[in-house]
Symmetry: C3
Subunit: 156 residues, 3 copies
Amino acid sequence: VTPEERLATLGYDIQAGTIGVGAVIPGVVVGNLLWLSGSVPDRNGRTWRGRVGEAFTTEEAVEAARETAVNQLTHAKTVLGELSRIRRVVKVLGMVNCVPGYAETPQVMMGFSNLLVEVLGEAGRHARSAVGLQALPLDVPIEVESIFEITPEAVG
Amino acid sequence: VTPEERLATLGYDIQAGTIGVGAVIPGVVVGNLLWLSGSVPDRNGRTWRGRVGEAFTTEEAVEAARETAVNQLTHAKTVLGELSRIRRVVKVLGMVNCVPGYAETPQVMMGFSNLLVEVLGEAGRHARSAVGLQALPLDVPIEVESIFEITPEAVG
Amino acid sequence: VTPEERLATLGYDIQAGTIGVGAVIPGVVVGNLLWLSGSVPDRNGRTWRGRVGEAFTTEEAVEAARETAVNQLTHAKTVLGELSRIRRVVKVLGMVNCVPGYAETPQVMMGFSNLLVEVLGEAGRHARSAVGLQALPLDVPIEVESIFEITPEAVG
């Protein structure tokens, strides 16, 4: 069973995107490490706008975090071609757009972290920080960036 | 003299924790690099709650940062077994829960950075950013995540 | 044409700084990776103080981000000696000191990202997050930290 098939079972159909021509790209590989650009929850025409603790409850933000994980895997697929090249998730930085003093950023980020484990199994477990920020692009409630260990591309 | 012995001399007795079964773990090793999850200052039953510049002065926050460094080394010990496997501290991201416009995040973070040098010597020096955030888990005043270079586990 | 010469053509004359003796240093190399400490826009006696969306417009902040990129390359030169040792920019974390809900952090960070491409060409393209924070050191409007892939120093 490929990660893409597990995603499909969970109701998520993802397609590799394009790298684009600008200065900022979805991810960069160095050896067996893949650094991904931050992902936000907007997906399939559904947009998320506003701060957690105000526009969104913690429960709603967990769902936004889950959508963000699907988008982060889409970044990975865009760079790698196949998600089976992911050996493990290494490190995740979860950034929640929230009201001052909002203390439940780790609970929100479980939406992201658990999706990775559902799709990748043991390989989805990772080191993480989950923190609260003042502002995010487009006023989305969450942005997450990750580092994955990967199988380097075959030579020859 | 081991890092654990230096910590003991400074009054800090640390014990390896457990990795746990959840999606988020204290650290992940890839080759000679260890990525650590964020640590907070709560330790030995002492809790820290509130923002720097409001609940805590800069001087108090320096002490919180020092406690956070002890916890970050505890994460490392949990993953590595022995702190002597640390070759050097590579990169530190210090995140301070503070009032808007609080400008002394680098001073706060010296509590963290100096503890690493006291324990690890030259190997404790590192690249760093020290910034101010809107919110942290449990409303702690500081959270820090690090990357260490390590000696990979012996083979055979 | 060296990166230093391209910088000069753009009007930026940079000189390697000194590593210093403190716990925090401009950058750390592990193998073919260079982790840089965060840079701020202050340069050549010009200081930037205040939040984007209040003290600075987005357009002004783009210029601050560009100055920050020059300072980040100065960090790299301090560690590497020559910028020609940069193989590529891997990952950038752009942190903007802004008013709550400020949604244009990616536009601000294009000042940083585009300067890297002007100086390094294709090798300047990178993965990135661009987010809004509560507070930065000295109340500067932007701080950025990066990871570069480099040519390891020649042996012998």
